[in-house]
């Protein structure tokens, strides 16, 4: 029973990672950059949702919608102002800029909302957790709905990328930027769209994460950001199903190592697993093989 409880909480944590990782992986796929500010977009999404529910009195779901819109705009703005001027100058310059953006978002949140943490009200406040097996097994609505949300997002995203014109354009740009441009695809638009989707998802991930783990601070997004990045690499960065699998596995490893091995070293174990996977499969579980033309 404990095993099952752990499994569910692992899947739920993993689902959060997976949704965040989607943003990482899509942005990486299309612009080959590590967007370290992605975690902080989650934090902004959380604050937005918090502000909407606490100060504006909006319903949680409506607040989520508003947060998604704001994060989408934020993501597009960041791309436009900070990343686009550096496109084509190599991943390092953009990486550092992304870190600058991350500092910026954290500090602006600190200035606006102060250093005191906020307790986030769960999106599923009305629902009660289910206890089974004499209190041994606990199923919280947050965990189940997070897992469900993850699956729905995955399906929608996969459909979007494979079926719609915009999605196909995105794939084309990730495959070959230059060729896509020659084929008349608006590369800027595709990249903006990717950032928009990734950031919108970040807001969803933020709200889901905070529903389960409610402490909201300006630095809330940093560590989940890094973990999700790890998850994206784990699954093969650039691959959408990879992000999902990577996120889930990472969440499960984290919870299980904490439960059965060591609470102190759980992060070390997560990262060690990542290294082992990369040793066996150098481009992650579902990553494309890198081949060099000779």
């Amino acid at each position: 029973m404990i095993f099952l409880t752990n499994l569910i909480s692992g899947l739920s944590l993993g689902s959060v990672y997976a949704i965040i990782a989607l943003g990482y992986t899509m942005v990486y796929g299309i612009s080959k950059m590590l967007n370290f500010a992605h975690g902080d977009v989650i934090m902004i999404g959380g604050y937005m949702s918090f502000v909407m529910t606490m100060y504006m009195g909006l319903n949680g779901w409506l607040a989520l919608l508003v947060a998604m819109v704001i994060c989408t705009l934020l993501g597009v703005t960041i791309e436009r102002l900070a990343y686009r001027p550096l496109r084509g100058t190599g991943s390092l310059a953009v990486l550092i800029t992304a870190i600058g953006v991350s500092y910026f978002l954290q500090n602006i949140a600190l200035l606006i909302w102060g250093a005191n943490p906020k307790m986030f009200t769960s999106l599923f406040k009305g629902m009660k957790p289910v206890h089974a097996a004499g209190g041994q097994l606990t199923i919280t609505p947050e965990s189940i709905l997070t897992i469900l949300a993850n699956i729905v997002i995955m399906i929608l995203l996969t459909l979007f990328v494979s079926k719609t014109k915009a999605g196909k354009a995105m794939r084309a740009v990730s495959e070959d930027n230059g060729a896509a441009q020659l084929m008349g695809i608006n590369v800027n638009q595709s990249i903006s769209l990717t950032f928009a989707i990734g950031s919108g998802l970040a807001a969803v991930a933020g709200v889901l994460m905070l529903s389960a783990y409610p402490v909201l601070m300006p630095t809330t997004g940093a560590m989940p950001g890094i973990k999700a990045f790890t998850a994206a690499v784990f699954g093969g960065i650039g691959s959408i199903p990879g992000a999902m699998i990577g996120g889930l596995i990472l969440g499960i490893i984290e919870i299980f190592s904490r439960s059965y091995i060591s609470t102190e070293l759980s992060d070390a174990i997560v990262f060690a697993c990542l290294i082992i996977v990369l040793l066996v499969k150098p481009t992650g579980l579902l990553g494309k093989k890198i081949s060099e033309k000779v």
Partner: protein, 379 residues
Amino acid sequence: MAERILKNIRIGGLKNAVKGNDYRKEATISYAILIGGYILLQVLSAAGIVGHNLQGQFVPICVYVSLAVSLNLVVGISGELSLGHAGFMAVGAFSGILMSRVLLQSMTFEPLILIISMLFGAFMASIAGFIIGIPILGLRGDYLAIVTLAFGEIIRNFMNVLYFGFVDGKLKFAFNHTIEGIEDTDRIITGAIGATGTKTMASFTWGLLLCLFTVFIVLNLKNSKQGRAIMSIRDNRIAGESIGLDVRKYKLMAFVVSAALAGMAGCLFGLNYSTLVPVKFNFNTSVLILVFVVLGGVGNIWGGIIAATLLTILPETFRQFADYRMLTYAIVLILVMICTYNPAIKSRITALWNKVKPKKKDNGPGGKPRKKKAGKEAA
């Protein structure tokens, strides 16, 4: 066969050709900046012009300069992105502190203790670098970067559960819990609380020596058989293999030397403060060092020296902005990156500069119009 030189060979004009790296010039500039800066600051300090705040940063500046130079060995010269440099710094710092505490039991001559501690820190960090280096060398690009990040975090995680201390004058070690029967004052490293009671020995002069040594090693290595091999592999791995370069060996070499130098710098850093916590060596610190390298120009040693100095001082100078300090820092960081790397803005600055600058003929020595090669450098 007679020594016959092939005739009539046209190699084409060298109009567009660019002179290569001038090692002597690079070294001269680097040493001049270091020694000049040292003398300048010492004079200013003696004259009372430099305040406590800046004086207090002399050692950390030296440490960061040294870290930037050593990271440049991996990022610039070997061409791999490393996000775990702070991990090696941590290994060097904690093992160096440990060594200094042990030596202080029996020795009193501080310079010798400092040197031995730094060498020990470098040694331990190089071992860490070696262990980490072996598995990751088959990886490339961003995958290698994430693994260095992961290792940096693992090292820090382990530091959180490491305990060292003296019990009855003997060095004891524990893992995951406190040491039995230890007095507070005999603790050396206490898990997440870190190292306390360290005797501070670092000084600006030691910092300068560290920087000089690091620059000396890195520049020498660059201009040697090994350095050329490392750079060749960066420029073209397949061609490197085709002329018989053992890619793994040379990558490992760059990694280990860089780790050792980082360990040395970490040790000096550790011995500059009476306390040191493992959290100090988190991802942010790794990134900070990377920012020095990128801002100073990937592969450019003296650029890294200046960038490290500048970016260490910068947040302090922003104290007058009070609450907006770190926000200002973030904005400056973004703007500087865009200004130095965006092709359009860059060319505008260049044009502006050309108007001001006295005319010079031809490509001067050391000229490196990198144009759009930044992408390649980064890859």
